[in-house]
Symmetry: C2
Subunit: 168 residues, 2 copies
DNA sequence: CTGAATTTTCAATAAAAAATGAAAATTATT
DNA sequence: AATAATTTTCATTTTTTATTGAAAATTCAG
């Protein structure tokens, strides 16, 4: 397979994977394009290569920057902004984890904690079923939350280092 | 908060969370309803409580059964089918993991392996950038794949047991 | 076997999400 | 300050995804 074709297929697949995980397909494709680019790209490069509008390119680039997995880059003597992706895949993973945790898991934990305080007699089987399920989900989510914090923070963590060694 | 209200809020929140992760909102809501029900429910219960059509209820129930997180249940002397959710949250998590791994991660791994075989001179910076990025993503994904297998399989696994103890 | 109850399918419709593109805003250059 | 280049916004349109509901298929009881 030629490089251009391989790159296109990566962009395509990354887009599909993203959309299956609730990430805008185009955002994932822009990310894929930047990940596999040897250098930084400008908005026009992205518009051209993905055949998308300026507005669309702009919005998705901004979102990738919000997620801290793409940076704006200044190129001397050029008025345009350029963009480049973080290529350390471990950093990419932890940053995505951090964003999703913050936006989704943390709010869900708050809700679950509140729901455990439901009124009524715990011997009522309906209430029992409810609080037991919600309680176990909350405990599970809280553990996941803690584990993610560990992964996100610790570059010096033993487990993480072992994991990273395997990746070279 | 009263039970009915709490339950409704759980259904609502679970639906939102699901849709953020690429799972049909209604499917997540049906799951939430069954998770917090004291017993099994039939299609009509679900239609009524979620205000959805029979076709919709049927499709989403089937999908939950495909995922092995909801079971069909026979109630003696009743012609209707009933449904109940697996309530062991660890089992639910590993089964969802298994399905998503199989449907999404495994195919992606195949694609990535193929893309690493791109033609051309490795000293070409474009090819170098591409294969390095794709290679590191593939290694990362392969490690995630292995880790998930461990979690999914091993009830006897030390790490998993530690994790589960914390959850009671 | 018959027919009533129940489940499943799927073409048509509705709802939700994403993309466009041109106008407005911002930024840099002379 | 004027203007040219670039970026951002957002109302409108398009595309994608989900839902409906009635017909067809299936299942079961007598």
């Amino acid at each position: 397979m030629k490089l251009a074709e391989a790159r296109q297929q990566f962009v395509q697949s990354w887009g599909v994977l993203g959309s299956q995980w609730g990430i805008n397909r185009t955002m994932a494709q822009v990310h894929a394009l930047l990940l596999t680019a040897p250098g930084a790209l400008c908005t026009d490069d992205i518009m051209e290569q993905l055949k998308i509008s300026r507005g669309n390119a702009n919005m998705n680039l901004r979102e990738l920057i919000n997620w801290s997995i793409v940076d704006r880059v200044i190129i001397a003597g050029d008025r345009k902004e350029y963009f480049q992706a973080e290529k350390d895949i471990w950093k990419v993973a932890t940053r995505i984890m951090y964003q999703r945790k913050k936006r989704e898991l943390d709010p869900m934990l708050k809700v679950l904690a509140a729901l455990e305080l439901v009124e009524g007699d715990k011997r009522n089987p309906d209430i029992k079923a409810f609080t037991e399920t919600v309680g176990s989900i909350r405990k599970f989510a809280a553990q996941a939350d803690k584990s993610m914090d560990t992964l996100i923070k610790a570059e010096e963590n033993w487990f993480v280092n072992q994991f990273m060694k395997l990746m070279k």
